[in-house]
């Protein structure tokens, strides 16, 4: 079982992205860290290499009612406690680096986000529908 | 002429075999159900199923050869019904001749080949897959089955089932001398009938319905009939070859003993299908050629040594 200290992890992430980030402390001692979208892959590579942290439990995308122009993508990791990476994407052109090539388990999660929110994962081939019907033509359902 | 028709249509021909097969199917399903803590079907269920199948619409996928698909179950049915005429029933042998065992075995292989062809002509992917499996299975069980069944023939020095039974009358039932051969014959019979646990060609979770996936209606009904008659005849044959010492008895006693032996074999077959899991086709081939064939050869060697 991996057990990683939240503080150590945050320090390492700070080293990777080389700038400050917002931290949203959660209710149960978990943390959400907001990182720039271009750094996502670097951060995850670092987490996998340094901490052997590969337990990605899911990817959530959402749009907050107070900020309609931004799609938030949350990567929920498990490091002995809950830890999430948050990426904010512009709604008109949501583009994000894929991580399936380094962490194959992210495949279905990414496909679901792509389908439901129209996020384009750069580096992935054409994604066939996962949950929606083949002839679905009404755009991403959550937008 | 009249007696010929009687033999052909009533006993031991069509009617008797159909009734026996329906009874066998009911008994088998009932026993299996009781092994599995279910209630099981009422006695008329197999007949009702047959009537239902015959009254249903007959469909085949586009591209399937309808004529061949119709002929295959008919040919198989005639083959097994003919084989039935030569198998003694409780010592009753109207058409016995020297070498009828070979004729019976040949006629009983016809449905297996027709089954394979049925898979090929009905063009479904599962059918073709099931068809090729049935052929592979054929090569795995048929050789040990034939070697095992030649044991009684060698022991009595005759290829006539009646002669084998007469020899048993003086020597005692051959199961006492060839227990291994009997077990092999039962295994071979299960393989021939494609029953659990050797239902590899029609394994539901793997190839849906095997070669018969695309068959419906009357053709399916005929196939069911063929399979059940084949099962009944296989059991009759094993009874005669290994437990057939009743030839010289009082006919009434012979009938009672025959029925009891038949029931025991049905229980063995149902029990085997209840307690064993299905093998993989490569495991079956391995079992057939690495274990069953050497065992059957050993059995034959033993029989020949005993004869000397």
């Amino acid at each position: 079982m991996v057990m990683i200290d939240q503080k150590t992890l945050q320090k390492e992430i700070n080293n990777v992205i080389d700038s400050d980030f917002e931290i949203y402390p959660g209710i149960q001692g978990d943390h959400t860290i907001c990182i720039p979208s271009v750094q996502l892959k670097n951060v995850i590579v670092m987490m996998m290499d340094k901490f052997d942290c590969r337990h990605l439990s899911g990817i959530t995308a959402q749009i907050r009612s107070e900020n309609q122009d931004v799609i938030e993508v949350l990567y929920h990791f498990w490091i002995g406690s809950s830890f999430s990476l948050m990426i904010k994407l512009p709604k008109h052109a949501p583009k994000l680096a894929e991580i399936t090539s380094i962490l194959p388990g992210a495949d279905f999660y990414e496909r679901e986000v792509a389908e439901m929110f129209g996020v384009e994962f750069i580096g992935r081939e054409e994604i066939p529908p996962l949950l929606l019907p083949d002839d679905w033509d009404q755009g991403p359902p959550f937008i | 002429m009249i007696s010929g028709l009687f033999y052909l249509l009533l006993f031991p021909g069509l009617l008797f075999q159909v009734i026996c097969s329906l009874f066998f199917e009911w008994l088998d399903r009932k026993l299996l159900a009781r092994f599995q803590r279910r209630v099981g079907p009422p006695w008329f269920q197999p007949l009702a199923d047959l009537i239902k199948l015959f009254s249903k619409e007959d469909l085949l996928p586009e591209g399937a050869n309808d004529l061949v698909a119709t002929l295959l179950p008919l040919i198989s049915l005639s083959a097994v019904l003919t084989a039935g005429l030569y198998i003694p029933i409780a010592g009753f042998t109207p058409f016995s001749f020297e070498g009828d065992l070979i004729v019976i075995l040949f006629l009983m292989s016809v449905p297996t080949l027709a089954y394979y062809l049925a898979g090929v002509v009905s063009v479904g992917v599962y059918s073709i897959l099931g068809g090729s499996r049935s052929l592979l299975q054929f090569f795995s069980y048929e050789v040990p089955l034939l070697i095992a069944l030649s044991g009684p023939a060698i022991m009595s020095g005759s290829w006539s089932v009646e002669q084998i039974m007469i020899s048993q009358g003086s020597m005692g039932p051959f199961i006492l001398f060839q227990p291994v051969g009997f077990v092999l014959a039962v295994v071979g019979l299960i393989g021939k009938l494609k029953r659990d646990p050797l239902d590899i060609p029609k394994a539901k979770s793997e190839v849906v319905g095997g070669p018969l996936t695309e068959f419906t209606g009357a053709k399916m009904g005929l196939w069911h009939l063929v399979m059940n008659i084949q099962a009944v005849l296989g059991i009759f044959l094993l009874t005669n070859l290994y437990l057939g010492w009743t030839k010289t008895f009082n006919p009434l006693v012979a009938v009672v003993v025959f029925i009891i032996e038949f029931l025991v074999l049905v229980v063995i077959l149902s029990g085997a299908s209840a307690i064993y899991a299905r093998l993989r086709i490569d495991q079956l081939a391995g079992l057939g050629w690495r274990i069953l064939v050497p065992l059957s050869l050993l059995q034959i060697g033993f029989v020949i040594l005993m004869g000397i």
């Binding site: 999660y109 996962l130 | 897959l129 495991q283």
Partner: protein, 360 residues
Amino acid sequence: MNKISIPIGPQHPLLKEPLTMNIDISGERVLGGTLRLGYVHRGIERLAQQKTYVQNVHLIERICGICSHVHTTTFCHAVETLLGIDVPIRAQYIRALMCELERVHSHLLWLGIIAKHVGLDTIFMHTWHDRELALDIMEEVSGGRVSHAANQIGGVRFDLSQEQEAMIRKTVNDLSDKANTLMDVIENEPVLQARTKGVAPLSAETIKNYCVVGPVARASGVDVDMRRDHPPPPYDRLTFNVITRQDGDAWARTVVRAEETRETLKLCHTILDEMPDGPVSVRAPRKVPEGEVVVRSEAPRGELLYYLRSDGSENPARLKVRTPTLPALNLIPKQLSAIHVADIPVVMAGVDLCIACADR
């Protein structure tokens, strides 16, 4: 031999729920396959945003037909965390008891299915018969065999009477005996072993890379169990063993689930022994304060993740459900290479599919 493509699904005797796989085979060898989900996609995440929290408890229950209770428990736990209310301990124990019974019947269901897939119909019939005992308990205490409607935000809807407790103890004992007999049969059945040993082995490395959880991961030596690692109440007070195996093949998965069934039945007794007296629910407000929370729990098939964000209204602003089957499904195409056609059912069963969960 020629390459042919066989479709498995949406309707196929192998599947209990709809899913399509196109499997390329050559003779009896499987070359690979692709997967298509979505036949039972009901848009529950979106629908949940339009319903109130109270209604959502019942909506969430319909995500799955096997592990419905653990879904509502996790959802209620998430809402209660946001509300900051303490659920009475007795209610937590009743929830846990239901969760464990659900694990028992889910594992028994699965044992029956793998038995059926390898042609052992007798075991299938017997396991499903015994599984009814667990469902009987559920029906006795909650009134529902499959959808129990046991949870409400702030507790559970019913209390256990003395007689019910005695009945549960008796039935669990009964079930333990029967489960032990069944496991003995399964573990000593030579053909079942021949069919599952060495089939589609998964290394711990693969499991980690594919983020797979639950019994499949534990059968490959990845020791994760959210009941122990991130215990939602009352699991922090309970002690139990987490079963792991190292081989990672279909046989190891069978053994892990069989052992887990035994262990879970023991845990049921522990829960009943340690269950305190007291109330079983507290009043919860309809409006949930702003905030977001990630909760995890251990469903029969592995880690279940709920992400819940509230904007202060009566409806959730976003509810995300990640069921354990989803990553496991991802692994199926990977396992479908260089195996026999006859192993397809074993591979599919080994993952313990719950398509309704995966589709939502």
